[in-house]
Assembly symmetry: C2
Homo-oligomer: 422 residues x 2
């Protein structure tokens, strides 16, 4: 497609989404609920069609030599479709956030002032070849009263087109505008660049994928971007930690699912606890195949699976059964390490000392900070938001997992009886 035609197609999608966003903002809770319930039904009814469309994507991806993890994320199965339908029903049943008043107060002149929760308007998502994101992002945006523009990875094109068709059918069945879901089926990168310049229509842009995708989108975007680049999550084992409990937390953070952003990447151990704790870590995590990149002081305590850490092993997202380890003098040094190498994603302290727990919670700058719990809990479902569209490490109204509420903002609402300003 010619560059000019791409530009026009993307702009048209933006304009339609903007128009539909007015209807979505005013839509009744019942209509939005019905649309999501219908989507759940359609995912079951049209399972065959969806698997055929996905099969075309898988075949093309196999010929193109897509790697194993990306093939996995591209693949739809009856079980995955059933999970997607379950997510639709779950989000359908969440309370509708739009129109609620968060707080209200009265001014001396009698004006009643409040903050009303309102949709963001038009949310644009740029993401990799993961068809489930097409549905997750859409249902969360729609529940929050937004229109959404989707631009998924080209390898998932047929799957995404089939899913977008069902979303339109579901909106239509509920009397809502199909234009509230705009799927950009242009695989050229120029379509992403044009989307990044569409601040006339798009309120917030959410890139979801690898760091290079996120950086490319952020550098081009003319509207606010909610994003995270990477998760370099630390656990700090304080001198007073319950060591057997801390060991389970470290094990869970590193081993349970090492390829995700809330996996543990670096262990910081107070020098008073190092001699007791690190041999326990070496044994328990070592038996699960974890190897260690150790600083000078931790190296002799970690046994055969440890090698000296290179300077860039700190601040690194391994996405693998590898853990960086450092012994620190005290909490100050641990917090300074996190400030220098952390990614504002997830930080954990294991301690039985109340003062240290509260100081860590306050001073570690991350979208989730926890005491005596695994880093793996930084997830919308685990924290009780129901579902998430991603995790933001941008310090805006969404800092951390973004659920339905994080796809809204508040406006000031004023009830007067004729007040004018003196």
């Amino acid at each position: 497609m010619e560059e000019r035609n791409i530009r026009e197609a993307v702009r048209l999608a933006g304009r339609k989404a903007k128009e539909a966003s007015r209807n979505m903002a005013a839509a009744s809770p019942a209509a939005k609920k019905r649309a999501l319930e219908t989507m759940a039904e359609l995912l079951r009814e049209k399972e065959g069609e969806l698997l055929v469309a996905n099969g075309r994507d898988l075949e093309a991806a196999r010929l193109a030599g897509l790697d194993g993890p990306r093939m996995d994320r591209l693949r739809l199965t009856p079980a995955i479709l059933a999970d997607m339908a379950e997510a639709c029903r779950y989000v359908a049943d969440l309370p509708d956030p739009v129109g609620a008043m968060d707080s209200q107060w009265q001014r001396p002149n009698g004006l009643l002032v409040g903050r009303m929760r309102v949709p963001l308007g038009v949310v644009a998502m740029v993401y990799e070849a993961r068809p489930n994101v097409t549905v997750d992002a859409s249902i969360l945006c729609l529940k929050a009263g937004n229109a959404v523009i989707l631009r998924g990875g080209s390898e998932a094109l047929h799957s995404n087109v089939a899913l977008a068709r069902l979303l339109h059918e579901a909106l239509d069945a509920a009397g809502l505008p199909g234009d509230a879901v705009q799927f950009i089926d242009i695989t050229s990168h120029e379509a992403v660049s044009e989307l990044c310049r569409l601040d006339e229509y798009v309120d917030v842009l959410i890139p979801r994928g690898g760091e290079s995708l996120v950086r490319a989108v952020t550098s081009q975007a003319t509207m606010p971007v909610l994003k995270h680049y990477k998760g370099v999550c630390h656990a700090f084992i304080d001198e007073s930690a319950d060591l057997p409990q801390a060991l389970e937390i470290v094990y869970n953070g590193k081993v349970q699912r090492p390829g995700v952003c809330n996996a543990l990447e670096c262990l910081l151990v107070h020098e008073s606890a190092a001699e007791s704790f690190l041999p326990m870590v070496a044994e328990r995590l070592g038996s699960a195949g974890v190897s260690f990149r150790a600083d000078e002081r931790s190296l002799p305590l970690l046994g055969a699976n440890a090698v000296p850490a290179a300077p860039d092993d700190f601040g690194r997202e391994f996405h693998d059964l590898i853990l960086a380890v450092r012994v620190v003098r005290d909490m100050d040094e641990a917090l300074a390490h996190i400030a220098a190498y952390g990614s504002n994603h997830t930080e954990v302290i294991c301690t039985r000392n109340h003062v240290n727990a509260m100081r860590f919670l306050r001073e570690a700058d991350a979208s989730m900070v926890a005491v005596n719990a695994s880093t793996r809990f930084n997830d919308g479902g685990q924290l009780g938001l129901g579902a998430e569209i991603g995790i933001s490490t941008s310090k805006l109204h969404a800092y951390g997992p973004m659920g339905v509420q994080e796809l809204t903002t508040t406006k000031f609402v004023v009830f007067g009886q004729g007040q004018v300003r003196k």
Copy 2:
């Protein structure tokens, strides 16, 4: 200064601000309060020095032929300095937002999850030659636990340098890092461009000034920008409006201070009310020197001060005693007009009909929406926030006037007893 040196100077300011922001985030409420109280005292004690520095700026601006309104905004007087000191004391006395838990809930596995209010981190301000913004922005950012980078208009350089010196003295007296206020004294535009690329250190950028400044900053910035381009504020007079009350609201919106962003720019009148209401408007506002840009239906009702509206008179910020006027068929047409021409700033309905009032509040998309009150109330002080750093029409955590709370966000805080993820 050479381009390379400018880049290094701005980057150094960013790095210092980032480092200081850690101390500010952990600072005690008492220390922050003391710094602001000291600033109030210094503004009184050093009045002479400040007026001399400002005199140098005024003299240079006069020679350069700066226009009257900009000279006004540049000028400091003992009364203005006293107001600035009063603002310092007012903000000092506001509740400290940092560390408070906005809400907390328990998960089935016993995790206690909450949202803790935290500073944004480093806030950068780019603004025109208004020395009072140097102090307003700094005290709000510091109260909220942030570091701030200031880049004010070059005409106010001497005044700003003198004010920044006092801010450093006040921070020092309270045991807080002077680096928490970074004043960029480089007048070249390259300094602004470099600031826009400083996403490594700057969390949020706030441009405050004319639309061209805001657009230039937005198009270059690699971090989120909280901004408003302009205020095209409407009042819709519904068929059931209390017309004498509506007249006062329209008069106040247009006449009280026509040069500001929350002044009324366009009047929409329901066709059933037009014949009664518009002659009242013509007389009352006409006597204050207001002229009208009228659509076809309103023109014959507005008398001698009206001319036919040009197409671009709708959606225009006149900043003057000029009002665009249009007769609409119904609320649908009024809301469609606002969606097409509004600027997400301030929208008002005058009505006695409850259903219409609630529909307007819900559907008019603006940072403040009001029933039976003047547009001029969209202001941090007037709404009860205490003070404001600006008004955001970006739909982020700050949508509307930004006070101390709007310079913070929330992070997730988790209290566990050893929970790991299954």
